[in-house]
């Protein structure tokens, strides 16, 4: 079996599900002949034809609304937005309609759409191409927000997202698209949504993260071993709804936690996780939860973006801070 990248795993999952289910339709800007600006849909047009791989006119709100209309008819549209900074015109459609259709018709109509978009900084892209605003979507009731961080999870979680009967915002860390390869079995097996993945076990501190920051967090966990600090690393994966059970079980055991995300600090999902830890496990904590996040600034352009993304060094520093409490 050959190893594939995260973006290839996305393509593989799309192709698998399109073969298995003719209700699955891929749509977006340049997803057809061009295979997508990141090549996530490459080859799909040849395999499945122009009725199922739709190069849309250039209008993001339309992509969102069109997908909603299709989904109410029982199709399973997978809509691509080229970058997270360009999904905003579709927010009206996603939050006012997709997330509410089941609720406002008391289940008569539903909206099984996947809204896919690459997100995050670190690829030296122009401005508006580096956003990490997952919290905007996580705040909207009725949506799921799912973020893979490896080829295996990209494959399994995307299959789960397509099969889910409700709308899913599926955010793909562009920094990891071609970062590492993994063997991914093309067996059509989905991974569970609404569930964290524990990537490392350890008893000293819990590192809670998702998306591209999994990379720096794992590196930090490796580095900490030389000081005999054993970090547990949790990839949250579904940031809405949160699997607090797994997170709390770990934090209750280690008594220390650092939450790492690339998105800005204020109102980020880290705040929600920290609040729930404080509400439910305060007296089992040995140290206050610490957040290591992007700053409350606009993501800088390419030249400074590496200073925005939380570094391994910042994560390690935060862990030492928590270790100071005895």
């Amino acid at each position: 079996m050959t190893e594939i990248t995260l973006v290839e795993a996305i393509t593989q999952a799309l192709a698998y599900e399109m073969r298995a289910d003719d209700r699955v339709i891929v749509l977006g800007e340049d997803v057809g002949k061009d295979g997508g600006v990141f090549r996530a849909t490459v080859g799909l047009l040849d395999q499945f034809g122009p009725e199922r791989v739709l190069d849309t006119p250039l209008a993001e709100s339309m992509i969102g609304g069109l997908a909603i209309g299709m989904a109410t008819q029982g199709l399973k549209p997978v809509a691509e937005f080229q970058f997270m900074g360009f999904i905003y015109p579709a927010i009206d459609q996603i939050i006012n309609h997709a997330s509410r259709m089941r609720n406002r018709t008391r289940g008569r109509l539903s909206c099984p759409v996947v809204f896919r978009t690459p997100f995050g900084a670190g690829i030296h892209a122009p401005e508006h191409h580096s956003e990490s605003t997952e919290a905007l979507f996580a705040h909207a009731p009725g949506l799921r927000v799912v973020i893979p961080s490896s080829p295996i999870r990209a494959y399994g979680l995307l299959l789960a997202a397509i099969r889910d009967p409700d709308p899913v915002v599926f955010l793909e860390p562009s920094r990891l698209y071609r970062f590492a390869k993994q063997e991914v079995k093309n067996d059509g097996k989905a991974l569970p949504l609404d569930t964290c993945f524990t990537l490392r076990t350890g008893e000293d501190v819990t590192l809670i993260t998702w998306g591209a920051m999994v990379k720096e967090t794992l590196a930090a966990a490796d580095g900490l071993l030389k000081d005999n600090i054993h970090a547990e690393v949790i990839d949250v994966a579904t940031v809405k709804p949160l699997d607090m059970e797994t997170i709390l079980a770990s934090v209750e055991r280690t008594g220390r936690c650092v939450i790492i995300h690339e998105a800005a600090l204020t109102g980020g999902i880290g705040a929600e996780i920290a609040a729930q830890i404080a509400e439910k496990a305060l007296f089992l904590l040995k140290a206050p939860p610490i957040r290591v996040t992007g700053f409350d600034t606009i993501v800088p352009y390419a030249k400074l973006e590496k200073y925005y993304i939380p570094s391994e060094k910042r994560i390690v520093h935060a862990v030492y801070q928590t270790m100071e409490y005895t």
Partner: protein
């Protein structure tokens, strides 16, 4: 310089404000039974509307957007739809929704603050009311794509107001409908007002129908006070959509004979006497005159129908007022197909802590 394209916008009217019929008329104009039915529906809708406003004024209904003066638009297009077509309303669509099997009590239920008013009939694929202005034409093109993909002989009809045509979403929808040849009919109920902003202040375009031209689709202006023209042009457009996958934009010219909603006060912005002046063109009386000319309607029938409508409306209002509120936990029950475990705690808090105050 040379002219490379010229465009025309046709205008359709068969029955004028004096109840005079044009010389060339569609078959519908000779169908006494169908015309009587359309007339009766319009009378019923006007009564429903007056009742809804009265209910709001007496605290028994939430904010309600009146359909007064626009009865011919919605009765006409509702009549033109086939059962298997899909209807995507905005929020003044009483006349069409009643013909889609929606009860007036359900419409009241929706404006009364109960989501179940959007349930319509169990097998309905029609969309619920759409409040975010101009967002729903995009759903119509998605539904139309699904129909085309499955090669079904159905059409989609979506409605919006004149203000909605200024939204980007409106243009995005007609544009993709044109380029993909989707079986969809866009109906603009041009009632001259978007809350306080008049049609003239909304756009410099001479007609709203001409917006279709930029999208490469057919655009027509129709006298929205002439139910014959409305029904006929809507039926034609739907037929083209079903048979030839030709989208169409129909601008129905009418006048909003009420405030924007019951929460609005049009005297702040509407020129004095304009409403009265426009009332001369309202849709019901002209059809009554025509039916009387045809010898199928008279004072006695009118009185009888008014009584019948009043009875029906009273029953619907009673049904509405008798509806028990939903269980409070229902706010969680339709968020997702299966409520994620993360919500269980919040749902329990609601169920246990709030029941006392609700009951």
């Amino acid at each position: 310089m040379k002219i490379i394209e010229r465009f025309e916008i046709p205008y359709y009217q068969y029955l004028n404000e004096n109840g005079q019929i044009a010389e060339e008329i569609p078959l519908l104009a000779e169908n006494k039974q169908a015309l009587t039915h359309l007339y009766q529906l319009m009378v019923l809708v006007r009564l429903c509307d007056a009742k809804a406003i009265a209910l709001q004024r007496t605290g028994k209904l939430g904010t309600y957007p009146s359909t007064r003066g626009q009865e011919a638009v919605f009765v006409g297009i509702g009549h033109a739809l086939n059962k298997q077509d899909i209807y995507i309303p905005y929020y003044r669509d009483v006349g069409s929704l009643l013909q889609r099997g929606v009860k007036f009590s359900q419409i009241l239920q929706y404006w009364g603050g109960d989501e179940r008013g959007n349930c319509f009939t169990p097998d309905s694929q029609d969309f619920p009311h759409s409040v975010p202005v101009g967002s729903q034409p995009l759903h119509a093109v998605g539904v139309a794509y699904a129909i085309k993909y499955r090669k079904q002989p159905r059409a989609v009809m979506v409605t919006c107001g004149d203000g909605a045509t200024s939204q980007g979403d409106f243009y995005e929808a007609i544009n993709v409908a044109g380029v993909w040849k989707l079986p969809v009919v866009f109906v603009v109920c041009n009632n001259q007002w978007a809350i306080s902003v008049s049609r003239q202040v909304q756009t410099a375009a001479h007609t709203l129908a001409q917006k279709a031209i930029a999208a490469g689709i057919r655009g027509e202006q129709v006298d929205g006070n002439d139910v014959i023209a409305v029904q006929h042009r809507a039926a034609k457009a739907l037929q083209h959509a079903r048979e030839n996958e030709e989208p169409c934009l129909l601008e129905m010219v009418c006048y909003r004979q009420h405030d924007h909603t019951t929460a609005d006060d049009a005297s702040r912005y509407e020129p004095k006497n304009l409403r009265e002046q426009e009332w001369k063109k309202e849709p019901i009386i002209r059809l009554r005159h025509y039916l009387e000319q045809l010898g199928v309607w008279n004072e006695e029938k009118e009185a009888k129908w008014q009584t019948e409508c009043a009875k029906q409306v009273e029953q619907e209002v009673k049904d509405y007022l008798d509806i028990k509120p939903q269980p409070i936990e229902s706010m969680f029950d339709y968020l997702y197909a299966t409520l994620p475990a993360a919500y269980a705690e919040q749902r329990d808090i609601l169920a246990h802590m709030e029941r006392v105050t609700h009951d």
